[in-house]
């Protein structure tokens, strides 16, 4: 259950998406799995997201993306993290990600891609596995 206990996870929405129900559902699911979730609201820039991730020293950054510009926004967020000496903070992605873009995002270095058709339990357990490989059951 509480397999994310003590983890600090940021859920962020870069770009111009107009709604954040999915991001909030994920935030609540992570909280219920024991995580401390920092949610930053709609329409944040990659630079802002990276700065908050560093100040809050999160264990992972989750980007919720519905707008179709996931390639650019993921790449830019990772560049900004790198500029702040924080490229070791894992980035995962959720939202509307077409199957044909998955490989490209994984190549870019994201640790996981979670789309709307996945069960929340599976999202939580896969994320827990990525963040603490040693305690994976």
């Amino acid at each position: 259950m509480s397999n994310l206990k003590g983890k600090r996870i940021m859920i962020a929405k870069p770009g111009l998406d107009g709604h954040d129900i999915g991001a909030k559902i994920i935030a609540l699911a992570l909280r219920d799995a024991g995580a401390e979730v920092i949610y930053t609201g709609l329409r944040k820039t990659p630079g802002f997201i990276a700065r908050v991730a560093v100040d809050e020293d999160v264990d992972a950054v989750g980007l919720s993306l519905l707008s179709g510009s996931h390639k650019e926004l993921v790449a830019e967020t990772m560049r900004e993290l790198k500029a702040l000496n924080a490229s070791d903070i894992p980035v995962f992605v959720g939202g509307t990600i077409p199957a044909e873009d998955r490989a490209m995002l994984m190549d870019a270095g994201v640790v996981g891609i979670f789309t709307a058709e996945m069960r929340l339990d599976d999202v939580v357990s896969e994320l827990a596995r990525k963040l603490s490989p040693e305690q994976a059951a």
């Binding site: 609540l28 992570l30 909280r31 401390e36 930053t40 609201g41 802002f48 700065r51 809050e56 020293d57």
Partner: protein, 304 residues
């Protein structure tokens, strides 16, 4: 800005926020033993402003605007905002900064969100150490936001220099309950959302309570300030009142007494966590006499 301020600003530009972020995580996650081992001596301390009040009073939004004001006044500011942890799952939504960011999105501002974890006094585990760590960085002021509190969670008083209690017109009934608790503690009172009905009434009630208190300490008369989301006069009045209280403290405070109270809080919070750690390891039997269980826990403390 004076030359000291200029020097600090240059220092802050060089501030390695990655290192600071990590240092705060380390201390926030430290066990009691680790916290004791890592204890530093007191260094140049930032001026600490505590903001407390019931849930929904608008503390975070007010802090966002207030922090902006302090930054514009030339101070280097850090905000530490605490949200409650679930006692069941230990999870937390740290949502304070969402209310601050859209007002105070400013790279100069350092905001750190903390979950209360096992603390039930309106603060967070290791908060004394977190604040001590920030003292080692070039911040002029640290604003500490407690979780939404009721009448009894006044531990923050020991840790801050200036305590601001934020109430709203709907807090009317809470005033009755708070008369013997939070209401005695604050240096500055804010009636937020003062455009709602009942603001004048609650301000009157607070002033009446404060009058009764004045014979205790006539040297500082706590102001009661009305603020609304849209109005900048109230915010300016709050900013001014905080600065006045800061100046007042410079001339009217026994530093040893402040230090003693902070140490006492620190000690108590570490002992309480040790107790919590022992209780978490115990499997209490329902039939064991209370005095036996008590003696065992106290003996366990001796071994820590």
């Amino acid at each position: 800005m004076n030359s000291v301020g200029d020097g600090l600003e240059r220092e802050l530009k060089r501030l390695d926020r990655r290192a600071l972020g990590r240092a705060l995580s380390r201390i926030a996650n430290a066990s009691v033993a680790e916290a004791l081992a890592g204890m530093q001596g007191t260094s140049r301390g930032a001026y600490r402003i505590g903001i407390t009040g019931p849930p929904g009073a608008g503390k975070s939004t007010l802090i966002g605007r207030f922090a902006r004001k302090r930054l514009d006044g030339g101070a280097q500011v850090a905000v530490v905002a605490i949200d409650p942890s679930s006692p069941l799952t230990h999870g937390a939504i740290l949502g304070d900064r969402i209310r601050m960011d859209h007002i105070a999105d400013d790279p100069r501002l350092f905001i750190r969100s903390l979950a209360s974890r096992s603390a039930s006094d309106g603060l967070a585990d290791n908060i004394a150490d977190v604040l001590a760590t920030l003292d080692g960085y070039p911040f002029d002021e640290v604003i500490l936001e407690t979780v939404g509190v009721g009448q009894a969670e006044h531990a923050v008083r020991s840790l801050v220099d200036t305590l601001v209690l934020v109430l709203i017109p709907e807090s009317g009934d809470q005033i009755q309950a708070m008369k013997a608790g939070m209401l005695e503690m604050a240096d500055i009172y804010v009636i937020n959302k003062a455009d709602l009905p009942g603001a004048d009434k609650i301000a009157r009630e607070i002033r009446a309570v404060l009058k009764l208190r004045q014979h205790l300490d006539a040297s500082w008369v706590p102001p009661v300030i009305m603020t609304t989301a849209a109005d900048n006069d109230g915010l300016a009045a709050l900013n001014e009142a905080v600065s006045q209280h800061h100046a007042f403290l410079r001339n009217n405070r026994n530093a040893d007494e402040v230090q003693r109270r902070r140490l006492e809080y620190h000690l108590k919070s570490l002992v309480m966590r040790s107790v919590a750690e022992i209780l978490a390891k115990e499997s209490n039997s329902a039939t064991e006499p209370l005095h036996v269980a008590y003696a065992r826990v106290v003996a366990g403390l001796g071994k820590e």
